[in-house]
Each structure stands twice: as structure tokens, then as C-alpha cells.
Amino acid sequence: MKPARILGATLPRLAAWCLLGFLFLPLLVVIPVALTDRDYLSLPQEGISFDHFAALLDWDNGWLPSILTSAGVGLACSALATTLGVAFTVGAWAAGGRWPSFMRIILLSPIIVPPIIYAVGMVKLWARLSLLDSYTGVIIVHIVLALPLVVLAVGASLSNLDQRLMQAARSLGARPLRVFAKIILPNIAPGIAAGALLAFVISWDEITVTLFITGRAVVTLPRRIWTSIEDAVDPALAAIATVLLLITILALVARALSEGRSGKKTA
């Protein structure tokens, strides 16, 4: 009985940590490959080299322009999606009723509707409006895809907000826009910041729809990576993957640290 019980308790735990290893460890392989001293995808043979990281900064290799393109598109998308999303979520929260609930479902549907379907529709629409392979076209698509995350993040913040706060301001005679700007917005600032960050990340990572509506003129970083993976030779690909991996890890560590600190302060 006893060994069986120990096995029953230990085996799932062991499996869980093996799975955690399966999730994380494969990501690390890009690091040694980025440091290879060869000019093809391989592990370092006779020593390590940082040449492939330097290659990322060479304008003519196309990586730097793509990084800047993605950063610019991401910032524009984040600013606009956050503005639209915050206005919508606050308005829907304050007004209530059928119309905002219905629109909320439309706005959130990109989460579940496969992006390939949207891509087919947008190729047709942008072809007609001559917006294929344009910055405007890419930014608009990214805004639509980022809006659900902004709406969810701001909505989560609003659900913690007491509606009586707004009623108090109104009964004291504050004008509607003043209530929104001075009472509601400051109280949901963390949700707005989270929404803006999520919107940037969505745009920075978006590939499926972007692949269909861009060509040679607008080459976002994911698009550049996509082409490079299909060729599967350039170690600079491993270098950019390493950079992205390190940024992700640093961001998560920074968040954990700040949460730990604020948690201690309140405790």
C-alpha cells in the first residue's frame, strides 16, 4: 500500500517538472546557435563568436529596419488601440444595455475567430482600397487584433471600481466627460497601462494576417523572421531569437521583482 501511495504522489509531480522542462529548455537552444563561429546554423565548433549579433545591427542585412518597423507599428497600434479600447470599455461600463454588450462580443471575437479567416477578408478589402503592403494597412489590422486585449484588461480594472464613485461625482454636478477624465481614468490607470502593453506585444508578434497583407515595402520583424526560417541558414536568426528570448525573460523577472516589492509594502 505504502510504496503505491508514494508512487501515486511522486509520479505526477515528476511528470509536471518534466513537462516544465519540455516547455522551457528547448527555447534555450537558440543561445549556443547564436554564438556559433560558423556562417550556417550550427553549434559553436572551435570557439564562440558575437558576429551574428553584430550582423543584426548592420542596416543592409534588413534586421535593424525590421526591428524599427515593428517598433513603430507597435507604438502606433498601442496608442490607437488603447485610446479606442479605453473609450469603448468605459463608455460601455457607464452606459450599460444591449448595444454595448453586443459590440463587446464583436470586439472580442478576434480572440476566438481564426486569424486566417480575417486575413482572407483583409486581403480582399485592402486590395480594393490599395492599402496592401502599406503601414496604414498593417497598423489598422493590428489595432483590430489588439482591441480585445485592451478591452479585457481595462474591463478587469473597471470591474474592481465602485460605480458609486461615479454616481457621487455626478450628483455633485460634474459634467459627463469630466467624470470620465477625472474620476474613472485615474482609477483604472493600471488596467490602461496593461492594455497598452498587451496591444504593443500583439502588434510586435503578429504574423498570420501580416503575412497576407504585406510584401516588400513593409517588412515587420516577424515577417523577416518568417522568411529567414523558411531559408533556415542564417545564424543571425538565432541571434535575434536570443535577443527576443532575453527581453522576455528580463521583462518577466522585472515584473516578478516589482510585484514582490509592492506585495511586501502592502503586507
Partner: protein
């Protein structure tokens, strides 16, 4: 709910301002999301001729049949493996000490946030013929010729499961964290063995989370482009890649739009069925559950 008596000015004025705020995003969503998708649906029955002929051809097309079978096979395998693995990880997560849980969550969140392209590239680096795994296996003499690990069904499934686990784990972790642990204590104190507690208490209480993550993983898998395209390299042709080929290479809009419509209908039907479960309804309507 707003009280209709409050305020020094008309409630309608306040409500009008609030509704005005919802307009810009609504216009964007309708004209630049709903309308283009509606046009895909419309084109599927009007291009090149009006009627259901596209769908008749869809069912008669053996290539489409193969693609659909591959898609269903890969999606079903991915869903079963992902939900099973994610449940094991999520179950461990809620039983860990705060410190270890932070480590474990970190291992889930890094792959969750990193670009899908970086993940696909990592797997190609590991699994291809001259890849890290095959080199190691040959060097240690375990195999003499490289194993075919990628650009086939196996590679696509590995990549898809790896993509979906963080996502499903976070869904299940949220669900399991909400379960009142005193129920398990009560069951234990009444003499139930750990196995009984798991099968009779944990499992039934986590069914909504299991259903929700199954739905999401399956729906995502059905329309997934990136990982199947990169790890299948044309040899494992799934729906999304097939649609993309119809547009980019052959300009077969009839096929692309009717397949997209069929996919949308399947996804819509799955979501409709799942909306009966309160967990999903809560996500979409933001209403507290009764």
C-alpha cells in the same frame, strides 16, 4: 445599474456621452473586422457564380478531404495531449510553495510570451536531420542514421503541443485555484484516500476548466497557420496553410472563401455549444456568474 434619479443634469445626457465613447471602437470593429469577414462569407456563395456550387466542389475535392482529415487528426491529438499535460502542470502549480510556484510559473510564462516564430525555430534547430538531437544521438551511437523528427506529423504535433500547453495551463491554473480546498480536507477527514479525493472531488470540480481549455486548444489548432506551416514545411498540409496557398499561389478565391466560411461555421458551432457553460459566457459578457 445606474440610479435614474442621481445627477444634477439629465441621465440621458450622461448616458449619451457614455454611448458616444463606445462609437469609435464600434465603427472600427464593424467596418474593419465584421464587414471584411462578412464579405468572405458572401464571396463563398457568389464567386465565381451565385449558389452553393463552391461547397459542392469542396466536398467533391479529394485534396480538400485530405487537408481536412490531417487538420482534424493533428488538432485532436494536440488537444488531448495538451489538456492532459496542462492539467498535470496546473495541478502541481496549485500544490507548490509560493517560492517554487514562482519558479514553475516563470517556466510557463516565458514560452507563453515568446514569439511563436522563435518557438518554431527552436524546434527546427533541435529536430532537423542535422539538428542538435540527431547530432547527439549519432555521436553517442544510439542511432546510425538521423531520425526524421520534423517536417512530418511528429514535428508538427510536438510544435503545436509546445505552443498550446502554456495557454491551457494558465486557464486550468485559474480554474483550479478557485476551487475551495476545504472540500478536499473534508473528504480526507471522512476517510477518503488521495486517489478517491482526486477522482471524486478534484476531477468533477475542474470539469469546467477542462472543457474550456479543450475548446480553446481545439479551436486554435483548427485554424493554426504558423507552426504547422513551418514545422510541416508543406508535407503536413493543414487548413490554414491550404487556404493561404489558394490565395497566394493559385488565386482560387472560391476555395479560399468557402473553406474559410466552413471553418468559421465549425468554430461558431463549437463556441455556441460551449457558451452554454457559464465559464465561457463570463469571459465574453463580463457579467458575474449567478
Amino acid at each position: 445599474m445606474l440610479p435614474h434619479s442621481a445627477g444634477g443634469y439629465g441621465v440621458s445626457n450622461f448616458k449619451r456621452t457614455a454611448l458616444m465613447l463606445t462609437l469609435p471602437a464600434s465603427i472600427v470593429a464593424i467596418s474593419l473586422y465584421a464587414a471584411p469577414i462578412a464579405q468572405v462569407l458572401a464571396l463563398s456563395v457568389t464567386e465565381p457564380t451565385i449558389g452553393w456550387s463552391n461547397y459542392q466542389r469542396l466536398f467533391a475535392n479529394p485534396a480538400v478531404g485530405r487537408v481536412v482529415m490531417t487538420t482534424l487528426k493533428v488538432s485532436a491529438t494536440t488537444t488531448v495531449l495538451t489538456v492532459l499535460a496542462s492539467y498535470i502542470v496546473a495541478f502541481e502549480l496549485i500544490h507548490l510553495s509560493a517560492r517554487l510556484r514562482r519558479v514553475a510559473l516563470f517556466l510557463v510564462l516565458v514560452p507563453f510570451w515568446i514569439s511563436v516564430l522563435v518557438r518554431a525555430f527552436s524546434w527546427i534547430t533541435i529536430l532537423r536531420r542535422q539538428g542538435i538531437l540527431n547530432s547527439a544521438l549519432i555521436k553517442t551511437g544510439i542511432v546510425s542514421t538521423p531520425l526524421e523528427l520534423v517536417y512530418n506529423l511528429l514535428g508538427v504535433t510536438i510544435g503545436m503541443v509546445h505552443y498550446m500547453i502554456p495557454f491551457a495551463t494558465l486557464l486550468l491554473y485559474a480554474n483550479l485555484s478557485d476551487i475551495d480546498r476545504r472540500i478536499m480536507q473534508a473528504a480526507r477527514s471522512l476517510g477518503a484516500s488521495p486517489a478517491i479525493v482526486f477522482y471524486r472531488v478534484w476531477l468533477p470540480l475542474s470539469l469546467p476548466g477542462i472543457a474550456l481549455s479543450t475548446l480553446f486548444v481545439f479551436v486554435f489548432s483548427l485554424g493554426f497557420l504558423v507552426t504547422p506551416a513551418l514545422l510541416g514545411a508543406g508535407k503536413v498540409l493543414m487548413l490554414a496553410e491550404y487556404v493561404s496557398i489558394q490565395i497566394s499561389n493559385t488565386s482560387r478565391w472560391d476555395l479560399a472563401t468557402s473553406l474559410s466560411t466552413a471553418l468559421l461555421l465549425v468554430v461558431g458551432a463549437l463556441v455556441f455549444v460551449a457558451m452554454r457553460s457559464s465559464a465561457l459566457r463570463a469571459v465574453f459578457t463580463a457579467k458575474p456568474q449567478p
